[in-house]
């Protein structure tokens, strides 16, 4: 296995993530897309670390990407839940208004 397949898979994942982010109006679904994108980038780091550099820094990067992704998911979902409590909806276009009157 060379580097190319991994990069292509990672690219496909990334693009799928973008499509999810674009196409869905549900905030949780958009968060799913973000997770896909983060996974794609983490995969890239490990692939480069294996094939291009002879050190393991790529793994560390991936590790921290995963850590950050977990933190992001926790906070993001908390915000979604809060948002739902206020607006009774998780449609992203509900998030246009800054006040809670609408």
């Amino acid at each position: 296995m060379g580097l190319a397949p991994y990069l292509i898979i990672s690219m496909i994942l990334f693009i799928l993530g973008i499509v999810v982010m674009m196409a869905r109006k549900n905030i949780i679904a958009i968060l799913l897309g973000i997770e896909l994108i983060l996974n794609a980038s983490a995969l890239n780091f490990v692939a480069y670390s294996r094939f291009l550099t002879n050190n393991i820094d790529g793994h560390i990067f991936s590790l921290f990407i995963i850590v950050v992704a977990a933190a992001e998911a926790a906070v993001g979902l908390a915000i979604v839940i809060r948002f739902f409590q206020v607006r009774k909806s998780i449609h992203i276009d509900e998030a246009v208004w800054l006040n809670d009157e609408v």
């Binding site: 973008i18 982010m21 674009m22 109006k25 958009i30 992203i92 276009d93 998030a95 246009v96």
Partner: protein
């Protein structure tokens, strides 16, 4: 002394750690927070005392400096250099400043232990003081404008919080807001100056700025039609104007007296407001290059005189001191303007000491006077009088400081102020513009003597005017945390500590050059000598001997003048010294006649010049001007104008207008459709107008997150495309 991480950083970090720790434990134990704060500042005082002795006693060279830097962050990639270094720059000026800041701060901490003892927010006060002190130390240690600005803003925040310390009082909240907002005006302009400098020479390090000046980097550069040096110098001076409460931004400082008195002493008298002057001194070569020194001198003179006149009619003890602070800061700025570099700095130091002492004494007085009806402390001078017997030690300290600030020979204030005025007079002989500055300064000196003695006489002499308050005032006894700081500070109001000739130019003179250490060591930096210059990485080791010392980075203290000019300078100093003494004596005499002898009553003068008095009481209507005219008429109207523009023009014409236009277009198209052309053209046209333009515009303005995603990703894709083609 070794200059390593372990010896330099503690000065700054100890108070900062005290702040961090204190803010956590202040809810548990107020006393512990106080103790941590005080001890930490004392330890950093010891460190800076070591630095001071290293610079002044052992080295005694005007070229001795320490410059250490470390890389803060580095975003450089190929072709684009962007790296920011922070560092520590200690020269003689910074060493003296450090000693002053930490010393005064220590004493004020000690005093606060007594002053704030029965306060509810005892610990919190110390926490703020710690943060403030660390920021001030950081500012002094900074080697560049960027970190200076950061600390500058932290101090601004501390000032804001401490002015509003009793935020349950409405006035305190307003005052803190006012202080914050007013200084912000100066700070924004200051930031503009920093950005301008950064944009041109790519760094905001003092030393790099000096060498850029010497290398002519600033030549020919224009900003907004004026030369860059002028622009940058002006902008940086605007920072000084805001922070040091110069005309026209002086309005916040009197209101800042709403804070606790020790904080007034530390922040609004001794250190933070002086930081503005310190900045001007650091950037002096730039201002000189920009040619704005006459302007600075005039601003300084105007402030010195104007504030002094307002101080004449104040009845609040702290207000008198506040205006006198503004006035004295005016002298420093005047000194900067006339090129009296070391005199201005000396006045900064002497003023810090005696004004801190004055404020603390005022605190001591105020704290011992109670109004037993409202249970408030009494600050009004008309209700005081005759306190000399009740508060002898405070009186002693305050008297010494009053003598110093009034410019009585042998005291520090005389030495420094006289030098500023002497240099101003000398400059006036060569350039007529400076006459304004000199005359205003000299007149202001007389007024200073008058209002300071008026304050003393009203407070301590004569018969008590409010028997009730007088009766309830306890006789003071020597307390380590009340009088000792006062007395220690008042000792340093003697001129002998700063100059070998404390009574004027060479009239009485001690020793040789070493006694004139201030004059010899605190001298202007000469930019061209900074071109061959090196700095060292901050680390755990001190490798100073590897540094190439520049031959002479600083100007010689004798100004390099020829014999004739030297003579003129000497003459100017003698004349101004005599003039100062005469003016000060007249001021003191008038005060004596007026308030002790009662030869002529002040009421009569007030009634004679009622209009003038009213102007003074209303502080030249500056506040009125700002609030009524600038804010209400100007800013609010401007805001309303913007809002109207937004609602009335942008919304109505740009957005609704689009709709109208499209609707009209649609109608026209409709007309055509019915009477002329077939459906396809019309539908197409309508689609373009209604769906594409109208919706598109609405889409741009509504906060659709996914639309932002699209833009984001497309831009990203574009950049990736660019990268891949590059």
């Amino acid at each position: 002394m070794e200059y390593t991480i372990f010896t330099i950083l503690p000065i700054f970090l100890l108070p900062f750690l005290a702040f961090v720790l204190g803010s956590f434990i202040v809810k548990r134990s107020e006393k512990l927070a106080m103790a941590i704060s005080t001890v930490s500042i004392f330890v950093s005082f010891l460190f800076s005392a070591k630095i001071f002795s290293d610079f002044i006693f052992s080295q005694f060279s005007k070229d001795y400096y320490i410059h250490k830097y470390f890389n803060w962050f580095d975003l450089s990639s190929q072709g684009l250099e962007f790296s920011v270094d922070l560092g520590i720059y200690i020269d003689n000026m910074a060493a003296v400043m450090l000693l002053m800041v930490t010393g005064v701060a220590t004493l004020i901490h000690v005093f606060s232990i007594w002053y704030m003892a029965d306060d509810k927010k005892y610990g919190k006060f110390f926490v703020y003081l710690s943060l403030f002190t660390s920021a001030m130390i950081g500012l002094v240690l900074s080697d560049n404008l960027l970190s200076l600005f950061i600390f500058w803003e932290i101090m601004g925040f501390c000032s804001y919080s401490l002015i509003g310390f009793y935020h349950e009082k409405e006035k305190a909240g307003e005052a803190s807001l006012k202080a914050f907002m007013t200084t912000r005006v100066g700070d924004v302009i200051f930031l503009l100056g920093i950005v301008a400098i950064w944009g041109v020479i790519g760094t905001v390090n003092y030393v790099d700025i000096y060498s850029a000046i010497a290398n002519g980097v600033f030549e020919g550069k224009m900003v907004l039609g004026i030369s860059l040096a002028t622009f940058a110098g002006f902008c940086i001076f605007a920072g000084t104007v805001g922070k040091s409460a110069q005309f026209p931004l002086q309005v916040w400082l009197p209101d800042a007296m709403m804070g606790p008195t020790p904080c007034s002493a530390l922040i609004h008298a001794a250190t933070m407001v002086a930081a503005g002057v310190y900045l001007s001194l650091r950037m002096y070569p730039l201002m000189e290059l920009g040619g704005i020194t006459p302007f600075i001198a005039c601003v300084g003179g105007l402030t010195a005189f104007g504030a002094a006149t307002i101080a004449l009619v104040q009845t609040d003890l702290k207000a008198v001191l506040a205006y006198s602070t503004i006035s004295q800061l005016g002298y420093m700025v005047l000194g900067v303007g006339v090129g009296a570099y070391n005199a201005a700095f000396m006045h900064l130091i002497t003023h810090a000491i005696f004004k801190a002492c004055l404020f603390l004494s005022a605190g001591s007085v105020i704290h011992s006077l109670h109004d037993h009806q409202t249970h408030d402390h009494v600050q009004e001078m008309p209700r005081m009088g005759g306190l000399k017997t009740k508060l002898p030690l405070t009186f002693l300290a305050m008297m010494a400081c009053t003598l110093a600030i009034s410019g009585v020979p042998l005291f520090s204030g005389f030495v420094s102020k006289d030098r500023i005025l002497g240099d101003a007079l000398y400059m006036a002989m060569t350039n007529k513009v400076y006459w304004v500055a000199y005359l205003l300064g000299a007149l202001g000196a007389g007024l200073t003597a008058f209002y300071m003695f008026r304050m003393m006489f009203l407070t301590f002499f004569g018969a008590p005017r409010d028997e009730d308050v007088y009766k309830h005032c306890h006789k003071e006894s020597l307390k380590w945390n009340r009088n000792v700081p006062l007395l220690l500070l008042s000792i340093f109001t003697l001129g002998i500590f700063f100059s070998g000739s404390p009574s004027g130019q060479g009239i009485v003179k001690f020793g040789g050059e070493k006694y004139e250490w201030f004059k010899v060591l605190m001298v202007k930096p000469i930019p061209k000598n900074f071109t061959t210059y090196s700095k060292e990485k901050l680390s755990t080791q001190d490798n100073r001997d590897k540094i190439l010392w520049p031959k002479s980075s600083y100007e010689s203290h004798d100004y390099g003048l020829n014999e004739e000019d030297e003579h003129r300078l000497h003459t100017a100093h003698i004349i101004s010294a005599i003039a100062s003494v005469v003016i000060a004596s007249i001021g003191i005499l008038i005060a004596f006649l007026m308030y002790i002898r009662q030869s002529f009553s002040s009421e009569r003068i007030i009634s004679r010049a009622a209009k003038f008095y009213k102007i003074l009481v209303n502080k030249y209507y500056m506040d009125h001007f700002y609030i009524k005219i600038v804010i209400r008429r100007g800013l609010l109207k401007f805001n309303r104008l913007l809002a109207n523009f937004d609602l009335g023009i942008y919304d109505r014409y740009a957005i609704d207008g689009w709709e109208h236009i499209s609707r009209y277009c649609y109608r026209i198209a409709d007309f055509f459709d019915r009477y002329a052309v077939d459906k396809i053209g019309v539908d197409g046209f309508g689609f373009v107008i209604k769906d594409v333009l109208n919706k598109g515009l609405r889409f741009l303005l509504a906060g659709k997150v996914q639309f932002y995603f699209i833009v984001l990703f497309l831009v990203l894709a574009f950049y990736m495309f660019r990268i891949s083609t590059a």
